[in-house]
Amino acid sequence: MRLVYMDYSATTPVKEEVLQEMLPYFTEKFGNASSIYSTGRQAKHDMDAARKRIADHLHCVPEELYFTSGGSEADNWAIKGIAKARKSKGNHIITSKIEHHAVLHVCETLEKEGFDVTYLDVDEKGLVDPKAVEAAITDQTILITIMYINNEIGTIEPIVEIGEIAKKHQIIFHTDAVQALGNLRIDLSELPVDLMTFSAHKVYGPKGVGALYVRKGIRIPNLIEGGAQERRRRAGTENVAGIVGFAKAVEIAYDQFDEHVERLVSLREKLIEGLIAAIPDTRVSGDRDQRHPGNVHVCFKYIEGESILLSLDMVGIAGSSGSACTSGSLDPSHVLMAIGLGHDIAHGSLRLTIGDFTTEDDIDYILEQLPPIIDRLRRMSPLYEEAKGAK
């Protein structure tokens, strides 16, 4: 059966060149990067080189990047860390209703511990309004955390404006850039951002590796304490293979950046337009312009997402409904609720995300397979029946 992977925002395969660069670190070059002998020093050297390779592409200093076990850890560390470090200055945090759960759940926990959190509304395209950010600031505000690109509907947030506001009010600004890495050029020498979260497995690197950027001069307490790794900021024997793979993946992403974006955007537009044309009552979510190059997010009225996914899976198409992280629960996604969709529409959501291995043929195949699936499910649905009756 033909296999069409359309869930690059959930995770990506490790690119062959990335894997090749990782391999020696499992077996020959396996030394502990904290050790003094040659294999250890070699590991440390290559790990620090990896840090520099990534820093160069993001235009920051290598010492501002700390490796973590992924995006979730980095989000937890950043937010809990700033909350703890600046507790004496205030107890108010500003975020949005459409953040990843790694941000939202941390904020909810902080609320239980006495912090006040403002969860900003977004408009129908998922955009946070910088004016609303500024209006929410109080003299207690210590942190603003707004994501760079939403993982579900692909909307790119106005983080430059938000960051400028944070700067003006001397408030720390964190952004979850997990979906932005490799899909937007990120220039940390220009961006008004204090902390930024990254994850390797969204850019053709390995799972279980990420990084937190912490601008020089900002101190946060450790989330994982113990050994002196990562300049004493993040304990645990370093995953050198993963870190080197991460660096290679970032390099490839930015070396081939223009071509990557152009290809993805063209496939994305073809798919969105094709779906609108072929399937009635299709609603495109998110902003059509300020959008992740590979994100296609649509809602099909009257039917439920999981049954779409299962049907797609049976013809070899892998998609998601809401964030991959939450698809275990299949509750209507908080993001779709926040952009004002009714439950009936939100439940019928489908996210297809395009990546570097997606072809024109894949898009054609989806446009051929999906319409009859939607039709079949709708004909089984009591809601469709009612809607038709009403017309």
Binding site: L330, M380, P382, E385
Partner: protein
Amino acid sequence: MYTEIVMDHFTNPRNVGEIENADGMGEVGNVKCGDIMRIYLRINADEIIEDIKFKTFGCGSAIAASSIATVIVKGKAVKEALQLTNKQVVDALGGLPAVKVHCSVLAEQALKAAIFDYAKKFGKEYPELEGFDPDADDDHHDLIEEIGEF
């Protein structure tokens, strides 16, 4: 995740559709939860379920549970159909993931609701329906979700 039986009933659901002027019709669930099941019954004078159809808005297991429930009770006496438990539905499907067990509950409830409607219309009394409220909005969904699974 799903057994072959579930996938079979999801892909080729039995008894999908409507019955015009049904003798009993029941609907449970709501859009909020993401599952709505509607069951139509045609019941003859001997209180035998002659025909049964369903329409379901919901996930794969909701569709499969509806389908298999209709298969189980079709041709049975109403009194027998009232004995259907969600456990039987789960077993007949060869099992359901813990987070999906509520779909089998919905199927049981939808059938009961349809029989309730029939009983009301035709002035029948079934002790099994004592205290049954077709509009009750059970929170079994969240309840079961908490159990989780790997």
